[in-house]
Symmetry: C2
C-alpha cells in the first residue's frame, strides 16, 4: 500500500528521468521512447501517481471544469429536470476527463457569476439553461469570451452560437393534431412561461395545429407559468370549472401533467373517458421503472430524453473547447409521439 500522494518530481527522481520526460510520457507526446513510456506508466501506476489539477490548470490555463449555473427562484424552487440533465452531462464530462461545477442562482445573479467565472478562470465553459426568446446572457458570454453552449435556443439572438434543442413547435403541432384526430375541439394548453423560448415555440406549434383545423383558441384555455405540480393542478381546476371546459389538455411538462391528473381526479373525471391529457415528456428517470424494462407509458405525450440531451450537449461543449477554431454547432432533435393511457376519443356529451 503506497503511503500518501507522490508528485511529478519524486516520480521522475525515482525513475532517473527528468520531469519533462515523465510529463510527456504520461500525456502521450510522440517524442518519447516507447520503452521509457512503459516504464513511466508502470511506475505511475505503482505509486498511484495522479497529476494535481490545480498545478496543471495553473500551467496550462485550462481547468477541465464545466460550469452549470442552474436557476433557482426566490422561493428556492428548483426544477427536477436538472437532476437528469446534469446526470447526462456529467457522464459526458467524466468520459472526457472533465468535471462539473454547480452553482445555483437567481436569474439576476447569473450574469455576475459568468463574469466571475471568466475573470477567475474558474471553468473552461458553461452551459446555458432555459434560454428566453431574447436572451441577454448570450451577449454577455460572447463579450467575456467564455465558451458556452445553450440547452434550447433563442428566437432573437441570431444563430452564431452553439445549441441543442428539441423541435418544440413541431412537437406541439403533432401532439395537438393527435388530439384533434381523436375528435377533440376544445383543447387547452398548460404551458411554461411564454418568455421562455421553448414555451413560445410550443404555443406556436399548438396555434398552427388549431388554425390549420379551424379550431378556436379560447384564451381561458391557455395558461402559462413556471411549471410545477401545483401549477398544473390549479390551472387545470380553473379550466375545468370555467364555462367552456376543455375535453383535452396539453401540458408542457410532466410535472404539471401530474398536477392535472390530480385535479381531474378531484373533479371526478375519468381519464381518458371523460377527458384526455397529453404532455411533453422529458423521460425523467424517477418516473421510469428503473429496472431497465420499458414500462408501458402512462401519459400520452411527445418524448425526448433530457438525460440524453445533457450528454450530447456536454460532448458538444467539450468539442468546442478543445477545438476553439471550429464553428458553432447546432442540433435540432425531433421528439417521438408515444400514446399512453391518458388520451381517447372526445366524449359525446362534451362540446
Amino acid at each position: 500500500m503506497p503511503k500518501s500522494t507522490i508528485n511529478l518530481k519524486q516520480l521522475s527522481q525515482h525513475l532517473g528521468l527528468s520531469q519533462t520526460t515523465v510529463s510527456r510520457a504520461l500525456n502521450g507526446f510522440p517524442e518519447v521512447n516507447e520503452n521509457t513510456r512503459q516504464k513511466v506508466l508502470a511506475a505511475a501506476a505503482q505509486f498511484n501517481y495522479r497529476p494535481s489539477p490545480s498545478a496543471s490548470s495553473l500551467a496550462t490555463g485550462k481547468t477541465r471544469i464545466i460550469g452549470h449555473v442552474v436557476p433557482i427562484s426566490e422561493h428556492k424552487m428548483i426544477n427536477p429536470h436538472f437532476a437528469d440533465f446534469l446526470a447526462g452531462a456529467s457522464e459526458a464530462y467524466s468520459a472526457a476527463g472533465y468535471d462539473l461545477l454547480l452553482r445555483t442562482a437567481t436569474p439576476k445573479q447569473e450574469e455576475e457569476i459568468y463574469r466571475e467565472f471568466a475573470s477567475r478562470n474558474r471553468v473552461d465553459g458553461v452551459v446555458v439553461h432555459g434560454p428566453l426568446i431574447d436572451e441577454p446572457r448570450i451577449e454577455v458570454l460572447k463579450s467575456i469570451r467564455l465558451p458556452f453552449i445553450v440547452h434550447g435556443r433563442t428566437t432573437m439572438n441570431g444563430d452564431d452560437y452553439s445549441w441543442l434543442d428539441v423541435d418544440n413547435a413541431t412537437s406541439f403541432r403533432r401532439l395537438t393534431q393527435h388530439l384533434i384526430d381523436l375528435g377533440h375541439k376544445r383543447i387547452a394548453l398548460v404551458n411554461g412561461l411564454e418568455t421562455m423560448n421553448f414555451a413560445h415555440r410550443r404555443l406556436q406549434g399548438y396555434r398552427e395545429a388549431m388554425e390549420t383545423n379551424q379550431l378556436e383558441m379560447i384564451p381561458k384555455l391557455i395558461s402559462s407559468a413556471d411549471m410545477n405540480e401545483p401549477y398544473g393542478y390549479n390551472a387545470t381546476l380553473r379550466m375545468l370549472d370555467c364555462d367552456t371546459p376543455p375535453s383535452a389538455i396539453l401540458y408542457s411538462s410532466i410535472l404539471s401533467a401530474m398536477g392535472g391528473m390530480r385535479a381531474t381526479g378531484e373533479r371526478g373525471l375519468r381519464v381518458p373517458q371523460d377527458i384526455s391529457l397529453a404532455t411533453f415528456d422529458d423521460e425523467l428517470s424517477f418516473l421510469q421503472t428503473g429496472d431497465g424494462q420499458p414500462r408501458e407509458p402512462f401519459f400520452t405525450g411527445m418524448h425526448s430524453s433530457i438525460q440524453e440531451a445533457g450528454k450530447k450537449l456536454g460532448q458538444m461543449l467539450i468539442n468546442q473547447i478543445s477545438n476553439p477554431a471550429s464553428n458553432a454547432e447546432t442540433c435540432l432533435w425531433e421528439s417521438k409521439l408515444i400514446v399512453g393511457k391518458t388520451t381517447g376519443p372526445r366524449p359525446r356529451e362534451n362540446s
Copy 2:
C-alpha cells in the same frame, strides 16, 4: 470597461506595493495598514481583480471545492431528491466561498472516485449520500483522510464521524400511530431498500407502532425497493389485489406515494374515503406552489425539508474543514406531521 483579467503582480505594480502586501490586504490579514488596505481594495475593485483559484489552490493546498458523488443506477436512474439537496448545499457553499463539484457514479465506482479525489487533491471534502446500515465508504474515507459528512447515518459504523439525519424511526412510529388512531389495522408499508439505513429505521419505527398496538404485520403488505413512481404504483397494485388488502398505506417517498395515488385511482378507490395514503415528504420544491404561498398539503405525511438538510450539511462540512481539530458533529432532526387530504378513518366494510 477594464480590458481582460489582471493578476496580482500587475495589481501590486500599479499600486507600488509588493505582492505580499496586496495579497494580505485582500485576505484580511491584520498586519497591513488600514489606509493601504483601502487603497488595495479600491484598486482591486477598479480592475476587477479576482485571485485565480488554481493558483491559490496550488499555493495553499486547499481547493475550496466540495465533492458530491451522487449515485446513479445501471439504468441511469437518478433520484430527483438530489436536485433539492444540492440546491441547499450549494447555497451554503456560495455563502462561504466554496464551490460544488458533481460526479455521478454507480455504487461500485464510488470508492475509486474518492481515492482519486484524495490523491489528486481535487476537493477539500465530500458529502456521502444514502448510507447503508453498514457503510464501507466511511472506512475508506477515514483511511484516505478525506474530510466528509454523511447525509443520514449508519447503524454499524460507530459514531466517530459527522452526520445529519432525520429521526426516521420516530417519524414512522408517529405516522403509523396516526393511522392506527384513525382506526386502521391493515397498514401497509412501501419502503425503500432495507439495506439503506433510512429504510431500515423506518421499518423499525413502523414495527414498534404496530407491535405496541398489537397489530399484525402482514409480509405481503411490506415491500422494499428503490423508490420511484412506477415502483410505488406496482407495489400498491400488488397489495390492493392480494387477499388481505390494506386500508392504509405508508410510503417512504412522495414519488412512490404518487405512484400509489395513481394505482388506487386505477382500481377505482377514492382517497381517503376508501383508502388512506401517507408518506414521508421531503418537501421537494417542484411539488410546492413556488409562489411563496403555503399550499394546502395534499398528502398526509411527515415533513422535513431536504433542501434545508443540504444547506445545514454544507455548513457543517465547511466548519469541519476550516477547523480540522474539531470533533465529529452530529445532528438529528425531528420531522413534523402534517395532515393532508389523503388520510381518513378506516372505512366500515374494510377489515
